[in-house]
Symmetry: C2
Subunit: 663 residues, 2 copies
Amino acid sequence: MTEQKLSDTSAAPGVRPIGTPAPSGPHGSAGPVAPGPGAVAALRPLGVGQARLDADGLLGRWRRRNAEDTLPHCVDNLHRAGNIGNLRAAAGESDEAFAGMWFADSDVHKTLEAAAWELSVSSGDGALRSFVEDTAALLARAQQADGYLNSYFTVAAPDERWRRPDWSHELYCAGHLIQAAVAAARTGVGPELVAVARRFADLLVERFGPDGVEEVCGHPEIETALAELYRLTGHRPYLDLARRFLDLRGRGLLGPGRFGPAYYQDHMPVREAREVTGHAVRQLYLLAGMVDVAVETGEPQLLEAAERLWEDAVHRRTYVTGAHGSRHRDEAYGDPYELPPDRAYAETCAAIASVHLNWRLLLATGRARYADEMERALYNGVAAAVSSDGRHFFYSNPLQVRTGHTGSGEEAAGRRLPWYSCACCPPNIARLMASLHGYLATAHDDGLQIHLYASGSVSAEVAGAAVRVDVRTEYPWQGRVELTVASGPGVPWTLALRVPAWCDAYTVRIDGGPVMAPARDGYIRLTRVWAPGTTVVLDLEMPVRQVSAHPRVDAVRGCVALARGPLVYCLEQADLPPGTVLEDVRLDPAAEVTAAGREDLPGSPVVLTARGSLADAGDSLYTAGIRRERGGAPLTFTAVPYFLWGNRSEGPMRVWIPVAATG
Amino acid sequence: MTEQKLSDTSAAPGVRPIGTPAPSGPHGSAGPVAPGPGAVAALRPLGVGQARLDADGLLGRWRRRNAEDTLPHCVDNLHRAGNIGNLRAAAGESDEAFAGMWFADSDVHKTLEAAAWELSVSSGDGALRSFVEDTAALLARAQQADGYLNSYFTVAAPDERWRRPDWSHELYCAGHLIQAAVAAARTGVGPELVAVARRFADLLVERFGPDGVEEVCGHPEIETALAELYRLTGHRPYLDLARRFLDLRGRGLLGPGRFGPAYYQDHMPVREAREVTGHAVRQLYLLAGMVDVAVETGEPQLLEAAERLWEDAVHRRTYVTGAHGSRHRDEAYGDPYELPPDRAYAETCAAIASVHLNWRLLLATGRARYADEMERALYNGVAAAVSSDGRHFFYSNPLQVRTGHTGSGEEAAGRRLPWYSCACCPPNIARLMASLHGYLATAHDDGLQIHLYASGSVSAEVAGAAVRVDVRTEYPWQGRVELTVASGPGVPWTLALRVPAWCDAYTVRIDGGPVMAPARDGYIRLTRVWAPGTTVVLDLEMPVRQVSAHPRVDAVRGCVALARGPLVYCLEQADLPPGTVLEDVRLDPAAEVTAAGREDLPGSPVVLTARGSLADAGDSLYTAGIRRERGGAPLTFTAVPYFLWGNRSEGPMRVWIPVAATG
């Protein structure tokens, strides 16, 4: 989850911004009395109510769709699939059999968290508010006397409680409960959840703390959740337990399991790891916890380890869509440069986790590369997972679906499904989309930093005064961003604007006049006394790019991906003439690719038009000699944003387009 | 398993060659009394004792290694892993807990079958004979009163007997028991096994026959086994039951299972299927059963369906090594042209199954393409699965292992393991290697057909007389094959010699004189009255080939595989200068690739030497623009036969070599 609400001290007493000293007294004590050993965050998230998305921009429309469609759909499905029934049974109010996965509670917690974020920015309809209140009360009733709360191990397998840390997801579910409670506390919705979460967290401290058992959970999540609960409450044992779980990891406590200890990152201590391994979501959640603990404890080694692992992931094992996870079998990272577009697992939850991780790293370090990666994952890997109607979802997000594709069951990935037997992804999408506004900007003592461009407004306290900047843009369709300083202090402060890594050229005008504004470390920094009403127009050139992969990425050799701005594009069967086999399309590398709006497609996207040809494929699977494809029939074809694929018809798709041989 | 012993009427009364009328009387009746409705086989397998491999050729050495190392190793491991103990427990002679997979009995049956074939060609050491006799007796004691025989469902889960056809492998295990019994009967080793197998088969007829339940097994194997038992015994209900299992398949009787009905080919009737699907071994075993039943019942639709599915498999979903199965997750075929070399599952058992299937199709149709495919699978996909020492095995046979490869547990495929928790492959290798001589040649009324070239001799009855041809060759290292007709009838008969599909040019000399011998349909047919002592020298040109894949095979675009004769070659880290990253090696497509023997490598293989360069890889995973690799440092490198990889050190390997950009 995100820290973007951390500085909302009004919503929950004791909440403090990341990077400020930790209160060492008990919960609710009168403010900080001694600084922590050195919290290290570079940037502060905005608080609840400090960022807003207009309804007409792309991110604003995603947020609204999430509120109007995805969230009600999730709530419906939690009832239908039995997740709510499980909690009723745990509360002794029903004798229905347990339904679904043993970690089904986490779907409830994630939906609660999403609802809390949503209710903090919209008036909220009564149904959503009732869901939060009813479910919070139900959770309180389902909680055991000692604080334990997990419907599966209460109803279906009481003898197994705490007995299978490799498999049980008990701490994972506890973590999502805590995240929901933190969100509820920060947004003032369902605050009774904090009491429930703290009762459970106190049990965890008792059982797993310094005097308790040495165990870790097979699925990380508790680490970041406990760090967040510490931020909310100032109660140090939560942070210490988060750190203890990190310290205990990599000692083989989980055993080999089915896929070996690297599957759940238990093969070596987290500070020593040099490569991301195993289940991608687990790895990324673990990294988020590492950053959280590093920031709060001020331990540079832990942050260095997280940044080093980020580099391994992003430089050798990340898809051009920002997706993570190359293998279906164990939902895992592959070898370096093993990035098959067709069998990409690219789990939705991993892309979401990447947004969470990159946001944390951005806050901790202020480095633009994390904002770049967050943007790439958001607009491609995450956005593609949800349908235009907000009610269908991909679990796996391949970059290629072949003609004649067959999958197996829910992992077929040829079309989005309304729900899953393992429904981790839909409510995870909901909680990210409900909090999108939180990722737009950050604050610092010297000013405001804008990382994502979207119509809306962002505000923060700078130099003791309220700064507000209103943003108008058609980003990501156009690179022009108009910012108006609505208010600010009467002293100089810095408005920092990110220049995305994909952007080679841009201009800046202030009140219509061009200014020289060289970017440094990925940001243009404009420092002045800003008179209210001053406008800044940032115009990011947004040409179509033909993107190539590293030559060690065997799976896409001889191909390019088309991209424009932060968006990766793809070819879909729906845009090809009837009878055309998508696999035979070749791009003419010399021909210009043009961009234009398409009003007849949902969301009126900018699409690309390219020239190429149809390869003459022949019949033999293998032939002697170096096969030279003969130039086939010329073809003009359309590429659509990857995140929109599969919304018109089920059919072949590909991101990487083979380039026709030249000469 | 194979039919190559079918015509050995001396070893087991009632055995008859494929394609001859079926005896309709009871087992042991005095020969055929009425022809079947039209058995359709084109070629006859040789009988036991009619083919022999010299010890110094490659196939002969494989067979000997199998006898001296692999078979004793299998027997040891059956004891060590608990398979034998399971049968003791089923016989009431031990109270040990069941060990291993629930289909662990099949490993015993396969090893028994291998031992039977081995004992038919070698004097056999006492230990192997004792193993067969002791195990056959143990199986008889473990058999239940009603004929049922399966240690898991006797010892560990008696209540589950016959209750989970999708999962249980009960008929699969029964099939392997029957195959072992058929081999034992044909070779005269452990003939009491036939009684055991028939008791079980009779129970199957009672339970699953026309008056019984309508069920099929999740893992095909019983179909081909029952057809074989019918061939051995002439007992028609066995064949009818085999056919019934085929008829019942594709009606959804197995339910969706975890991976959907296509996983076990239960999604559509076998005669209507147009594509191979799902678990590759199951698909190939099913196809073998289809051919067997088609041949015995004379049903052309069934054979046509099998040939059609073969075309789909071989033209769109087979690796250049002859391996099948593109996906790890469900050990399954992929989409058309989905043939990743790195994540190739390429299960050893699937390559073995391909040999079995192609042999059946060759017998049924006489078409050379099946011999070609059998040869490719044998020399590459199968042969690579076993180490030079005969005691280590691959389960999965990738065509690429990257620098920094990590796998997960037994499917890591970076090195051969001595045994597996699911040990289906090692004893499957053993039964194929023990019967290799059976695949060399076939007979027909007009003569003898030689399909695989290996030093040894083959004989058959042709025109009422014993024909024997002795073969001397260094194939596959050299293309020269010297054949001597040792005996034959005094009338004209045809010696047919296969010209492999990879061979573009050859010469034929008879007693030193060149003859014009155009190949027709893949065979040179030499018809004459052959005087004993006549020599034929077939010289197949064996240049190095650069093999290209179909342009729809995205995973190897811009690459070639090096091949010579039937062998596919690969690059191994062990042959590169220290510090060289295998992924950066590029082949100069214009440079000549030379072949030469290497005495310092095990088996003195012919290796290839090629020229190329090291690509300058750079750092960025993705870059804008079409990346042109700059010509790097020149490099001369060695390629070794794929089947020998991983015998010197564990390290990166690749079959498909990127071709350096020209011009």
